[in-house]
């Protein structure tokens, strides 16, 4: 269980997160949504322990995340960032193997177990045939699946993803959402995904964390939380929702 207690964070004089108190249930599949600049990425970085918040705490199963070493933390939470950098040509296999870092001794090479875990993660994400390719030569969808394979190989109970659908065409977006749903249901991993696409979130994510101006506007089941009134207030757009067909459309 991932929890924040009075979490506040800002840069210079600008407050990004303001006294956030949320509980992420184990095995949940949360869409983290909100307008641009509302603090989604900062929240993800705080949850992942990359940022030490100005005030408050993040706890994993009751332990303060700040008390964990970088390696211990890496065994709890995997993060798929927005940025990808391709000037150095690591193969997909090398990239997924990097996730095993927290389990390896510094000078040792990968073990047989590491190799089996990496192969399984790549097969689960249908990237095994790409293992000798470098991300630069892949399509956006293939690259994103490789990053998800890496997060799987890290063998953490929780995976955080920061806008993994940006720059993908609709077919690849659906492919990634289906893949994450399968990971959530079959491997019972907790998933938090930052999304901008309301219909996509409404269709795929059972839970919603809605951030508005650095505070949690809503956290809970998607169907109850994502109402037309709330969308109107937070995003300023009108929508219609068909609950029986799980669809949300813009007016």
């Amino acid at each position: 269980m991932l929890q924040t207690l009075h979490l506040s964070h800002g840069y210079d004089n600008h407050t990004v997160l303001n006294d956030l108190n949320i509980t992420i249930e184990d095995g949940g599949f949360y869409a983290v949504m909100g307008a641009n600049g509302c603090g989604k990425t900062t929240l993800l970085h705080c949850l992942g322990g990359l940022i030490r918040p100005n005030q408050g705490h993040v706890t994993i199963a009751g332990t303060d995340i700040a008390a964990l070493s970088t390696r211990q933390r890496a065994k709890q939470i995997a993060l798929v960032c927005q940025q990808q950098y391709d000037d150095f040509d690591f193969t997909a296999y090398d990239i997924v193997m990097m996730a095993r870092n927290a389990y390896q001794r510094r000078l040792s090479h990968e073990s047989v177990a590491d190799r089996a875990i990496v192969e399984q993660a790549m097969r689960d994400t249908a990237t095994w045939h790409l293992r000798d390719r470098v991300p630069r030569t892949m399509s956006g969808g293939e690259r994103q699946r490789t990053m998800i394979a890496r997060a799987l190989a890290q063998q953490t109970p929780t995976i955080l993803l920061d806008e993994p659908l940006s720059n993908l065409d609709i077919a690849h977006q659906i492919e990634i959402m289906e893949l994450l749903t399968a990971i959530n249901q079959q491997e019972h991993k907790t998933i938090l995904i930052v999304l901008h696409d309301l219909p996509m979130a409404y269709h795929y994510c059972p839970s919603l964390l809605l951030i508005d101006h650095g505070s949690a506007d809503y956290i809970g089941p998607m169907r109850e939380g994502l109402t037309t009134q709330r969308i109107e207030r937070v995003f300023g757009v009108s929508t219609t929702i068909n609950e029986s067909k799980l669809t949300l459309t813009y007016k």
Partner: protein
Amino acid sequence: MNSPNTLRRRYSTTMIVLTLLTVTAMLVGSLCGAARMEWRQLLESDIFWQLRLPRELLALAVGAALAVSGAGYQSVFRNPLTDPYLLGVSSGASLGAAIAIIMGLESHPYGVGLMALATGLLTVVVIIRIASTGGRLHSTTLLLCGVCLTLMISAIVSFLMVMHHDKIDRIIFWTMGSLTAAAWSDVALVGSVAIIGIAIMLFYAKDLNLMLTGSETAESMGVDVERVKRLVLGVTTLMVAFAVASCGVIGFVGLIVPHSVRLIVGADNRHVLPASALAGALLLLLCDTAARSLFQPSELPIGSLTALIGAPLFIILIYRNKKRF
């Protein structure tokens, strides 16, 4: 493309070939020079023991140190066009060396080296302050920043030279780069700094790999990014400073060597760093042998020789990467 096994095999082959080439280059290099001798004569002469051998060993140490430093800066700044010379760190270190000479610190065994280290580190801090965004150096800012720092520092060094006529020869030596003055004491000092520095870098090779994929990603996979970054920048700058203090500013080694090595063994720093150390040592040994024997009795400044090879290659790299600037 290349599977991990192919790359590993290629790495072993590369290391063996580089070792053999280096030994051969040392043997041939020992015979080159103004005084022509047979092997037996050579082994009994001071020319070999006091001039050629320490000079060759210093070339190996400096070449290895510069090449590994280049690979280190490239990993930390996530920019393949980085090199201690282009960053301005080498000139920064040369300023410290010049100041140390003027202050008469040459008598102290570490005086020049430590002053070079201080100004080299200062340059790194300035670069990070000016040019890095989110821990990454963008190519354009990097090059502009490096050029400006180098110009500014050479202006200061020129001032120092004019104000201290008596030391002008010694200072010019730092700005052009030369292994002429190589002595056993230099070999011991630079050699041990290089060996310790390279060992530390190898210890962190895996962390550097992860950092190449982005500092946030690396952090999330269990790398203490800030600590590794400080340590690696400190160690690389230390190696550059002592290399510069012993033989002046020699550019482009840190750029061409890791680049060529990556083309053969792939991007994994666990292979790139050792192969760069060997290839850098070999390159500088070859350049120095050429510098002292091509136009006898005059000697070419080795810094201009490496620039002559490195600068065109750098332009090719920029040309090929144009889209990504």
